[in-house]
């Protein structure tokens, strides 16, 4: 039983440096209860999209309101929160969201995946394997994996209810006939618990295998579309494919210029106006940890980004 599923939160007002006039984690307790109920239902039916009463948040749709609402309804004073955006803890969005929670909860935050109890992410899964007891909350733009082929909500709901997933196969078929392989690079659809087809959110297909039988609880929130879904720990998550064109993760030749990793998902960074580029781990915490442990990449110089990271840790 995950700590944090409480109906009442008793906060020691004096010790938490949070904004006056706001409830803990911004949302009122009634809303949190409603969201938790939706989460419980979602967990009971892995991959199934549950409607919820998405609230107005102090940031517009498209900026992670779904993920924020899920986090807000779960976070408790004992939690340690990590927020990443495209793998990085220090992009504008990650910083803003982390600050939002600091202001409204006073809860401890971290950049270390291994230390966090609650991780909110946009479009990536951390490289560091998750542990039982951790919760990862994904920000989802379009929760409906069939939407691009079937615009009617009434129809897509029927299709999920009746397991009519023929059109998803069509998409994959089209890819193969046009590109010679399944070309979907991100938001690659998955079959959860051998029942529901789900959108994993726009994570790169590279990350899909991490979802399969992950010991952590995976929650998904879409604020604009007002849907929540979940993958309980150790659930089977299978990426859709054809028998003769099985799902495969492609790995390039590059390694991280900073820490030398050949296993992680890399970002391409242009370092000067001449188009010089290097590849670096998208997951900043992962890269940082390896660097600290003495792992080095090929790059001897210090790009600004990396320098800043190391500076903060010092």
């Amino acid at each position: 039983m995950k700590k944090g599923f409480k109906t009442e939160i008793k906060i020691d007002e004096a010790s938490s440096p949070r904004l006056n006039g706001y409830n803990f984690a911004y949302l009122d307790e009634g809303t949190k209860r409603m969201i938790r109920r939706a989460l419980l239902k979602a967990i009971a039916i892995p991959g199934y999209q549950v409607s919820f009463g998405s609230r107005e948040m102090p940031l517009p749709y498209g900026w992670g309101t779904g993920g924020i609402q899920v986090t807000a309804s779960l976070i408790g004073p004992d939690d340690t929160l990590k927020v990443i955006d495209q793998g990085s803890d220090d992009t504008t969005n990650a910083v803003s969201i982390r600050r939002f929670f600091t202001l409204t909860t006073g809860v401890k935050t971290t950049e270390k995946t291994s230390v966090a109890t609650l991780i909110q992410t946009r479009h990536r899964i951390p490289e560091t394997p998750l542990r039982p007891g951790q919760i990862i909350v994904y920000q989802v733009p379009i929760p409906e994996p069939l939407r691009f082929l079937e615009p009617r909500e009434t129809e897509t709901r029927r299709m999920h209810a009746l397991s009519e997933y023929g059109i998803m196969s069509i998409k994959l078929y089209e890819d193969i006939s046009i590109h010679g392989r399944i070309a979907t690079a991100y938001n690659y659809p998955v079959l959860v618990n051998e029942r529901y087809v789900m959108s994993p959110s726009p994570i790169p297909k590279f990350d899909n295998p991490k979802m399969d039988r992950n010991p952590a609880l995976q929650l998904f929130g879409a604020g604009r579309e007002k849907r929540i879904y979940a993958v309980p720990p150790y659930t089977r998550v299978k990426s859709l494919d054809f028998e003769d064109y099985p799902f495969r993760v492609e790995r390039g030749e590059q390694s991280c210029a900073l820490c030398g990793s050949r296993e992680s998902f890399l970002d391409e960074i242009i370092t000067d106006d001449r188009g010089t580029r290097l590849f670096a781990c998208s997951d900043t915490d992962y890269c940082q940890r390896r660097h600290t442990e003495g792992q080095r990449g090929s790059f001897s110089g210090m790009p600004l980004l990396a320098a800043k990271r190391l500076q903060r840790e010092a």
């Binding site: 029927r158 009746l162 023929g166 196969s169 069509i170 078929y173 006939s177 003769d244």
Partner: protein, 260 residues
């Protein structure tokens, strides 16, 4: 119960009202495996309404539609659980629309359109699906090179043939057709009818085809129902009805055909 002793489709007093307006009224017939039943009449005769009731799209106001499914005997199609009915509509039943654009996915390649029913059935071998699809392209006389083209680039006749392939690839036991040759050029119509006739006989398909064109039914239907203002006014074998029409309306229809 022996397979052949059971009709494939049975309509029993099928009636459909739209408010006070009669769509079709009291239509009953049996359709046996391998038979092609034509339903003719002019616009407003109720033939399309009847077709929609028979094919599971519109619930009749009264009367029943039975389908001989599995080994169970006749089942009332509107009493079937929805998943079962939808499954039948994807596999054992076909529906060819008058306007092929209504029966195709226009934003998906021609090959994917034809392969969809296979994929919906759970076939997951790309190579196998594609081979089947190409085979059907050949059967409906569409150039195999067009398999990856979008239907928006096809002519009307090709679209209709594509729709037919899409429906027949799972060899449905029962296919409903709504004016499949409507709107096509005469030579294209002839070619299409020819194709249909060949496929019907080769695959022993049962078909219910609605049309206002008597030449079409003369060519491919074994039996006819003649409808006027929602009611069946005459029925029998195609040649019986067309060569020896009894009802005044049938006589009018038959005599109105302009011989080329």
């Amino acid at each position: 119960m022996v397979w052949e002793d059971r009709p494939l489709l049975r309509a029993l007093k099928v009636t459909k009202y739209f408010g006070k307006r009669v769509g079709c009224c009291d239509v009953s017939f049996d359709l046996w495996p391998g038979e092609v039943l034509g339903i003719v009449g002019e616009s407003g005769s109720g033939k399309t309404t009847l077709l929609q009731c028979l094919s599971g799209h519109w619930v009749p106001s009264s009367g029943r539609v039975y389908y001989g499914e599995g080994t169970n005997g006749l089942a009332d199609i509107y009493e079937l659980p929805e998943p079962r009915r939808r499954y039948l509509m994807r596999t054992e039943w076909g529906f060819v629309h008058q306007n092929p654009r209504e029966g195709l996915r226009l934003r998906v390649s021609a090959g994917a359109n034809v392969g969809e029913r296979l994929m919906a059935l759970g076939f997951r071998h790309y190579g196998g699906i594609r081979a089947d699809v190409l085979n059907w392209f050949h059967r409906v006389e569409i150039d195999r090179d067009r398999v990856d083209d979008f239907p928006t680039t096809f002519s009307g006749g090709m679209l209709q043939r594509l729709q037919i392939a899409r429906n027949l690839i799972t060899k449905p036991r029962l296919t409903f057709m709504d004016e499949p040759t409507g709107g096509l050029d005469v030579s294209v119509q002839a070619r299409l009818l020819d194709l249909l006739k060949g496929l019907v006989s080769e695959l022993s398909l049962s078909v219910v085809i609605v049309t206002h064109d008597l030449a079409v039914v003369r060519l491919i239907a074994h039996r006819l129902l003649v409808m006027q203002q929602g009611k069946v006014v005459e029925s029998g074998l195609t040649d019986q009805v067309l060569d020896d029409p009894q009802h005044p309306y049938t006589q009018l229809l038959v005599s109105s055909v302009i011989q080329a």
